[in-house]
Amino acid sequence: MTQTTITLTTYRNEREYPFCPGCGHGLILNALNHALIKLAVDPKRTVLVTDIGCHGLSDQYFVTHAFHGLHGRSIAYATGIKLVDPDLNVIVLIGDGGAGIGGAHLLNAARRNIGLTVLVFDNFNFGMTGGEHSVTTPTGGVTATTRFGNLERPLDICATVAVNGAGFVWRGTAYDKDLADVIVEAVQSQSFALLDIWELCTAYYVPNNKFSRNMLTTTREALGMAAGMISRAERPEYAHALRDAGAIQAGQPALRPDPLIPIFASTLDREFRLVIAGSAGGKVRSTAKIAGEAAVLSGLWATQEDSYPVTVKTGHSLSELIFSPQEILYTGIPRPDALVLVSEEGRRAAARYLAAMSAESWLFVTPEFADLETPARKLVFDFEAAGMRGARKQAALLMLSAALRRLRLFPIEACEEAIRRGQRGAIAEENLALLAQSAGVYVTCA
């Protein structure tokens, strides 16, 4: 909570509560008002976040900021507010209905230990929509939708958030004398604080179950749920922790244009479409990117489109490259000018391109595809015969650079430059060595 204090005799405005006679919601709001007075918080530094249900009307009766959102989502709005301004007092008012539909937010806010104060107005049913059952309806409870008694087990909200990391967890009733004090403590706590406040819906749950105030205790005991302070441990508060973690990076250079100055030249006078097809993990995409950047470093325009299965470490990896002296508009490749096949998985993924090859096309393959039938001009590169180390694993870069040496679309030195500027350390060294090796590759024309 923030330090600024302010002397107000009430945080209520002059509007009257809209609740049914005897409804517990007003009692909880009175306790909240008393707590705010004791805390002497600045209303301008305090936000009440509510959602939908009878309890959700509550924010209209206070002089603090108010956020009235969608059913069950108030913890998520409150998280956004707290992340932007971590020193705000953010108090969330939810119903047992909201705790159910928004259960994922409840769990995750507890897990993060974000410093929200959550008051659950727990009256065992949906008041606003006509007394249907909720996640906290006791077993056997009669509601509009459990007419012969609820068969489901009620959710123990406190145990759930406590076991998942909430720093401050308490259960009691709207009638507890110390409710205001507990709210004070909860707001003062830096942790995610949740108060599960059991109360009466006099319009539905009370008449349907002949329920009474005393039964709040007997029901709880019968269900074996704890009361009072259930968890109390200060852990790092998430909104501050996230800011602190980010602060380490403050001022580091952000994303900026990364100009490729054309220090090489190309004589390419038309669009040239090249496809390289290999296997996942075979560095196909990074190799294609080197070629794309090399083209741009040679004054050309380039595009690169990759395809690979969602399970990225298995199956094929295929990159389509287009080089052109002009801006490239359409990026589809119905018929490649050149196809580089690096592996069997690549060959299968490139079947449509293989089928589209003509006598003008180039096909660059490893020896395993030496017998492949094609009208294209086929060159077989045998790195292993040339005694190159790690040839299989590095085949993509070796093959593509050997092909580029043949095709003379732009100088191979442009690839060197692309590696030097885009890659670092050992990887750059290794790739530069491969690039040099590709000059001595053993070729057969088929």
């Binding site: 108010a66 507010i81 937010h105 952000a254 690169q304």
Partner: protein, 405 residues
């Protein structure tokens, strides 16, 4: 000088340059790279980025953040937009500046996660209850990914409304060359701010010092004051009066809903953004947007090189519909050619898109509506459509030029 980059990077850069300082998202192909960019970049500029527990939380957090003064961005694909739906309504009702990137995927449900698609055009328009206007932009180049992201933030702030940036896998993830000078840098306005509170107001009656909502002038968003700021802010997704109190008073509710509508609808002409490449006497007009517009522009070059006449309209602002620009393109050059019994020389309008006619429906509505009103013969409106995960080819456009002339 040129660069080699993908649309996701250009969008991230556009967002950072537009002052974005909050991002919440949930991983989904093909939108994930933007989440990764923002997680990496925002801490450097003092912003906050978070992977939320789901898409409902993502957009909820963005709404909370935006009303605390942040410039918020989120990104997802169709399945995530589905989960955003209810909160898109809240952002409209609560007049929340928010930019939503939709990297579209093919088909309903999980669909084709990594196929280019444009199937969400009508979905983002009508994706929430109540039916209010929204703003949606569609970049058709990586350079436009940058500039339209800036524009999206500008419009979100100016109109205090959610603004969509519709893109797809091919635009978002493929690397392209950009001439750095091609980047446009539209100004990003800040939302109108509330005036300072009158000094010394001890009895704290916020209702009197600041009205968080305002319906007069009916076409302007209200001045803003953040949570934690010096005015008491009442935000609500329910029908409300100027103070943010719930109301069912028909006069107030009517005014609120008219305000939400007219805030954008009255300004539709200034929201129009197209690239019109019109040729005198062309009888065919191509209309497209996003990735498909690139094939269209290539087809136009090819057709004209062969001596054919053809016009093209690349639409960057999908919503509100660029009515003026569409009618101008149809009736273009000769202006009125009533003698010929047509709106203009155009006899056929070909709308190309990677869906089964989402935007064609709007082009038809505009052109046929106008023709009926003015008692003129409308050009026929036809579509080039593809939903097989492949891009529409320049050849598909060219068929219309050759068969038509």
């Amino acid at each position: 000088m040129r660069e080699f980059l993908d649309g996701a990077t250009a969008i991230a850069r556009g967002a950072l340059d537009a002052g974005c300082n909050f991002f919440a998202g949930y991983p989904i192909s093909p939108a994930t790279p933007l989440l990764l960019h923002m997680i990496r970049e925002l801490p450097k500029v003092g912003g906050v980025a978070i992977q939320a527990e789901d898409e409902i939380a993502s957009i909820s957090m963005c709404i909370g953040a935006a009303m605390t003064g942040a410039r918020a961005l989120t990104a997802t694909s169709g399945p995530g937009i589905s989960l955003y739906s209810e909160n898109i309504g809240l952002a409209i009702m609560g007049e929340v500046p928010l930019v939503i990137v939709d990297a579209q995927r093919m088909g309903p449900a999980t669909g084709g996660a990594t196929m280019p698609a444009q199937g969400d055009v009508q979905f983002v328009r009508w994706g929430t209850a109540g039916g209010y206007p929204i703003i949606a932009l569609a970049p058709s180049s990586v350079a436009e990914c940058y500039s339209l992201t800036r524009r999206a933030f500008d419009l979100a702030e100016r109109f205090r409304a959610p603004v969509f940036l519709l893109t797809d896998k091919a635009m978002f993830l493929s690397m392209s060359t950009v001439e750095i000078e091609q980047y446009e840098h539209p100004a990003v306005r800040a939302r109108a701010q509330a005036q300072a509170a009158p000094a010394g107001d001890p009895d704290l009656r916020p209702e009197e010092s600041f009205w968080p909502w305002r319906f007069d002038p009916i076409d302007q968003p209200p001045p803003f004051s953040p949570f934690g700021g010096e005015h008491i802010m009442r935000f609500t997704g329910s029908s409300h009066d100027e103070h943010g109190f719930l109301t069912k008073d028909p006069a107030r509710v009517g005014q609120l809903n008219e305000h939400l509508w007219r805030k954008i609808a009255d300004h539709a002409p200034e929201l129009e953004l197209v690239r019109a490449d019109l040729q005198p006497d062309a009888r065919t007009l191509f209309v497209s947007y996003g990735i498909t517009a690139r094939a269209m522009e290539e087809a136009v070059l090819v057709a004209r090189a062969a001596g054919q006449r053809v016009s093209a309209l690349t639409v960057q602002s999908l919503w509100p519909v660029s009515k003026g620009a569409i009618l101008a393109a149809v009736g273009q050059v000769t202006g009125t050619s009533e003698s010929a019994g047509h709106l203009g020389p155009v006899e056929r309008v070909v709308v190309a898109e990677l869906n089964l006619g989402d935007f064609r429906r709007e082009v038809e509505r505009v052109i046929y509506g106008w023709a009926a009103q003015t008692r003129q013969i409308a050009p026929e409106v036809v579509g080039i459509n593809r939903v097989d995960g492949e891009l529409i080819t320049p050849g598909q456009f060219l068929q219309f030029v050759t068969s038509n002339e």
